[in-house]
Symmetry: D2
Subunit: 496 residues, 4 copies
């Protein structure tokens, strides 16, 4: 089988961004449940391109399809959709973080419980997942995937509570970290968001049927109405009743805390047209560019975005500064999924496979390059070089988010600490020298807080999750604290 599993090599400028692992979608009570789930996942494709899975239930049986690759590659095929019958479905699109790449780890995961099956899909990461995993293995559980989500299934299965809802909540109470989770049972669609709302999760409505999904753009594509955000710490249980109606119950098992959405959703992850926690993402990015122009002005002839991420901020920078905005870099959109296991020689072309300089807009000019974030700086270096090669007189790099110093443990794939540009050089001047720019400036943390929330950071009670910039982790880090070097599981390397 395996030779048909393309292993998408993501590299070039992509290497210099953060990655998030997943998008989730679920719907209850709609005759086209699987098709709508496929469309919703397509709209969430930017949250994970490695694999996608859907589970449906038709009143008798659960069905599952899991495939490596894009949603559209598989889930739009009538044959595939016909294998997912029934009026309720949940789906998941994945960028791998904690588990190795294997079909066996693709979500939703399923378990047969005494009272019937349950499927779970989640976006995020548990900061005590490994610790819990060890505990349940020690008491005789068998873990067959390397996914954190399997741990949730075990906690549900082992709960002493009677009802599935109580078991689910019992399990959730033991988990720590950042998550947006959706579960499907024979009659229920359940949604849960972590206690401080690090990861986003919204509720929608299509023809009176409840929907949960990671971002509002997944509602827009199917013409569903936005109802409200799932609250931080909330569990919502939708259940099909005997008369066909759907009941909706909200429970708040967690200790009440203020919401602290992950800032990177605004900086890079979420789609610009999504509304995350009440804020249009595109607008927050444009605001960030405007604040950047105020904080770090520069005399220049042209503002050039590093596409696509830097485009809204570049537009904001241009409008604020009055410097003309031009497409000085053209993006090759065919590269995203291609260049499978490239030869070393082709790999050497690096950033050029994805970006090319539009020389006519660059030559002889003082260029302000605007990007959304810099993680390692390796791609910035290549892009600056490309712009210089195209004849730029000066190259000034402006980054619409602060410097990144710290790793994430809530579902973002981050490189080793010492690979982060900000940890390698003393100041912006040294970093500018490394990437070959005439100047380099990052947006301040307050500049970003104001762009997103309108107010500077409240150090006592920060309004957002921002540890990658500040080191202020919003939760305990149980697994990390209990790390013992040398302890290694004999984990199966699945190639399937």
């Amino acid at each position: 089988m395996k030779q048909f599993s393309p292993s998408y090599v993501v590299y070039g400028s992509h290497d210099d961004k953060y990655h998030e692992e997943c998008g989730v979608f679920g719907i209850l009570g709609h005759p086209d449940a699987a098709t709508l789930t496929a469309l919703g996942l397509h709209a969430l494709q930017h949250r994970g391109q490695e694999a996608a899975g859907i589970v449906s239930f038709d009143g008798r049986q659960f069905y599952t399809e899991k495939h490596m690759g894009l949603v559209g590659d598989h889930y739009t095929n009538p044959v595939t959709l016909a294998k997912l019958p029934g009026p309720q479905a949940i789906g998941h699109t994945r960028y791998s973080t904690t588990g190795e790449v294997a079909l066996r780890n693709v979500q939703p995961l399923f378990a047969e419980l005494e009272e019937g099956g349950i499927a779970i899909a989640h976006n995020g990461n548990f900061t005590n997942g490994l610790t819990l995993r060890r505990q349940i293995i020690a008491t005789g559980a068998i873990c067959q995937s390397t996914s954190d989500t399997e741990v949730v299934l075990h906690l549900i299965a082992r709960s002493r509570h009677a009802s599935t809802t109580d078991r689910f909540i019992d399990a959730i109470r033991q988990m720590e970290g950042g998550y947006a989770m959706i579960a499907l049972t024979r009659t229920k669609l359940i949604a849960a968001r972590d206690p401080i709302g690090i990861r986003p999760l919204v509720m929608g409505d299509l023809d009176g049927k409840p929907i949960f999904c990671s971002e509002t753009c997944a509602l827009d594509i199917i013409g569903a109405k936005f109802v409200r955000d799932v609250k931080n710490g909330e569990v919502i249980i939708c259940e099909t009743q005997a008369d066909g109606s759907i009941s909706i119950e909200s429970r708040m098992p967690a200790r009440p805390q203020p919401e602290r959405v992950c800032l990177f959703e605004y900086v890079y992850f979420a789609r610009p047209d999504s509304v995350v926690a009440g804020r249009n993402v595109y607008t927050t990015r444009k605001n960030a560019g405007m604040n950047l122009a105020l904080e770090a002005p520069v005399e220049a002839d042209v503002v050039v975005p590093v596409p696509d991420g830097g485009t809204p901020a570049a537009l904001g920078f241009a409008q604020q500064s009055g410097i003309p905005f031009e497409y000085g870099i053209i993006r090759n959109h065919y590269v995203g999924r291609t260049f499978i296991e490239p030869t070393q020689q082709i790999r050497a072309f690096g950033v050029k496979l994805k970006h090319s300089a539009n020389r006519a807009m660059i030559e002889g000019k003082r260029v302000v390059l605007v990007d959304d974030s810099i993680v390692r700086g390796t791609t910035s270096l290549k892009i600056v070089q490309m712009i210089r090669d195209a004849g730029a007189k000066e190259v000034h790099v402006r980054v619409a988010s602060p410097m990144i110093f710290h790793p994430d443990f809530y579902g973002i794939d981050t490189p080793d600490r010492d690979k982060l540009l900000a940890n390698q050089y003393a100041d912006e001047a040294a970093m500018a020298k490394f990437i070959g720019a005439d100047s380099l400036s990052f947006l301040s943390i307050d500049g970003l807080y104001k762009a997103v929330g309108g107010k500077p950071r409240d150090p006592a009670n920060p309004q957002f999750t921002d540890h990658y910039f500040t080191g202020d982790y919003p939760t305990r880090l149980v697994d990390k604290e209990s790390e013992k070097p040398g302890r290694k599981e004999s984990m199966l390397a699945a190639n399937g």
Copy 2:
């Protein structure tokens, strides 16, 4: 993934045979462990053509490869073998019985235990598997495959014993039925055979390294020596010691009972060149043909085997009766793996896709057709018709095993009771009429016992497992007795 999974449709004369589910192979301490396992599985291919899997361990990690299709299609590729490093490996080739067809069910199955990983492969079936499965689900276990083997893993994981060996034996003690099982841990290769030895399992030796496998033909292909049969009820634990030497320990956890090998291993399953429980299979088949000639003689011009299964018995029949042996039916060996999802029209050609009459040997002759067994009679009917169409003057069918009345629960795939030919007609004459033969005779149960073991059946203590002929089941049938109609798990339909 799925579109690449060929679903081999086995039909035609094959439909009229029993099928067994599996062959197993394991080796400890040899640098070419995975390659030797692949070769061993190739030699055991007749025990299951649906899928094959291998797990290896290289001192640090377990590796697994599982593929639908034949061993040679995948496991001879250097790329695939390179993914299975290490000096110890176990493998499994499968014909599906209890679990639905899904890559997720392909063995060996693996579990991460507290003290390290364990992989298990088994041939056979547990008569209390479903009962145990329900019990462990009721106490919070999660079952992700529909395979009985997973239940063994759970019992091992939940055992209160400390060592893996004790846990394994603890689990084995709870299982009932017929099985030949092989397990691989970080340091051990374990083999176990059911208390009365229904399924075969032998021990071999290659350059001082222990091997376990279903039949001796898997030793022959790699030039390994036959050491001895694993005894009924025995567990053998081979372990690599710190100094590189291998210890071998035999344990007998089960109550001592006489061995009762499954007669169908001799009648149809095992390869003719294998030695099962000390008896050359080919010879037992030839003996059966000889006894058949004595029990049910007929005046005829030619003895024609139904290939390939009926050939040794036909040769025995011919030698005993003095009637010339001729190849009156030619088998098309290209059909085995082909004719994927054939059109109805092609399906109608049925037996002709696999067999054709060799008219020159048939025309104008009185033909004795010798087959190894008849299950439903549907193929016999078509073959008799084909022989008549080729101009036979008379067609006498002789079957080298007794009539089949009862289903199996020890790993043989059997049709519904009322589909069995012997349950549909009163006597041989009525059956002969159904299949269109001038006469039809089955070997007696004593005739078969004498062919295999040299003595008639001892009704007090039958020497073999023979319930399909006699209704005398050698063990309790716990699952069957506890069957409640309507109780249905919501089991996931995996398409992967």
Copy 3:
């Protein structure tokens, strides 16, 4: 084989654009010829995403690889590139027009001639291709593909001239239409452009080795220098000499005529960073947007591009009009290659699979939507509706090219005449009503001429090929004039 050939369904807004069939690339004398060709084709991917092929020659033998799908899907694999050895290669990326979709039609095409093999790749279409095809079949030639390019091979093979160069020119002289052609023989790389230069073709240089390709962006990606355009009507022959040096010869077999580049290269086909016939494509599009703002001003709150094609013109329109430019439509870049044979239900989501409204930029505003062209209007209708659904107060559509009335015969895939929006409605007001816009304006033909060439159209000697707008075809249309209804070849339907 076939089941693995994805058939990419291009639809949604894409249906409302013109398509061009091909990009070509060739290089002589470089040790990494095939790798550089793959990179060049990747940069030309926008000219055809259906399939790509490369032929190389290593001094002894020609090698070919042809694959359905994107360049990066296949030609970056070391295994594939290793199958294309040698210092000279040509390649082709294809969007199907005249030939049906079949691997057998994928270029380059190859023929064994008496003096050695020749491979040909071309972009464009011959207006007398069918006529010539009939002539050569009538005199005993065998055509095995349905590609026009095969006709060129036949003309070369049948030429009475001795040298390959003379044979090639002899063949070229018989062809009419628009083309950019590259040929590879054992020692030569030959490039040819049609007599009036409808299709673009440029010459580059990498480390002293000659390159030909459709657009300059294919030179940029590999760091090659732009040398000059291949002139209209020119044939350039590069040949490796015995001493390893490369000779370059230019021949002008056609009657001298002024160049008339296809305007649609500027409007839509070419990549914005390419320089076509001396003009930066991005700049011509921005100019078109500026002229459009002058010709068809409108009071509005925001200028929104229909991405990606309309973006440069929208930026020009915004700069000229002073109305703010905003990303009011977000494009889903994952749709391009996906949604294989979608269900009817998914197809119904149409434009939403690719575009979504960024409500925050639209709601309550008077919106100017800027697009590059409108062919059938079906997508415009859906996009206007989507913008209205997002709460726009007014929607004014501005198109940065003139109305399209006439089909193309030079390599652009055009719908039936009566499907063109401009042929269905009397004037802009009626068309505006059809697409649901408050107003609709197209750029004038002179507006486009000025944007591209700086001067209005010279009706006596038009500077560009513009028949789709004007009906003024720049060449004879031999095939079209000789069309006889009912005459049909029994052409083989290849599924391969």
Copy 4:
């Protein structure tokens, strides 16, 4: 595409046999033409397992499907058959000889002629194919495959005759060698056999519709009647008339000569149940074994066939000699299509992958091993060793055909002359020593003639084609005589 083309490695004992390239099948006027063709090709699978192709015509258009692999792998799928509509079809199953392995070379080949399309499939080889190929390339033809069959298409296309039949005959007259050819046009099914009938071709009838195929077994599978052999030198033209009836015309364009069927059809190629030129193949093989027992008797305990080829001769040997016949070698039928690109290590297991000794029948015995033919002797060597390892006291090899000294040019794939066992050793004793046997005897040429035709060889007018044994080639060898070393075409290496 390519990565999905399995390249079946045929090796082990197979290397020591001759291979023939093809089987052909055609039918006119039957509503299930393609399905019947698929079934016919399945019955002819033994004549070529590399690839298979079918062309059909539905009154409007020709359709083609070509696939690497077995007939049953592809042509039984309803989807594939649905792509081959129409009441007339021809098909081809192939073992590659002259052309390299490439889908482009898979037959039937098709050409568009002025008067309509024609598809051709053939079994055999033209002894002047290369010479003709050079002539037509010199006059401007383009050859795109490396198949001889393409040359026939060119000759047909270039013929000055008006009707397709006359053109076909004109082409046939120019070809020399051994062939069985089938052609399909819009209304006709044409069959042709070479002037001396080297390759077999028979005519059948199903419900009044004509069929042509290589062997009678392809008629048997679909229940068609055998009508007669196509005569050597005959061309039969079947044509659907306007009223739906089918006319059948026989033409004899070649100079009348006696028939000389290839002896190897009897020795090894044809299926035992086929009737070739009036003789049941199985009977000729058994006769050969009987004659061998008379010519080269030996004292022994058991006659063991080398399966499957040697089985009929072994049975004949046993019956004639009175020595018991036993299955001392068991064949693993799963090896045929598997072991794709095996590792060197697995390759080393060689013959054991396919054959295993049945020790109980061998140990302590004097064994007569009977095989159908020995080409290089390499496999015989391994089999003798295997039999010795199983404990044989003596091993006597008897071969049911004469020694092979000369290459074939009529469609049989033969190794280099100096690889033939008979050319490497002086006599049977020396060869016996090489293969490790106690004695070795080949059947005499007269012994084979008597087995097949009942009479010894007539040296003046040999009744069969037998040059591999005798050096007496039945036709001119034009290509061979005109061979010039160093002349090499630059032929495209197609990987597709």
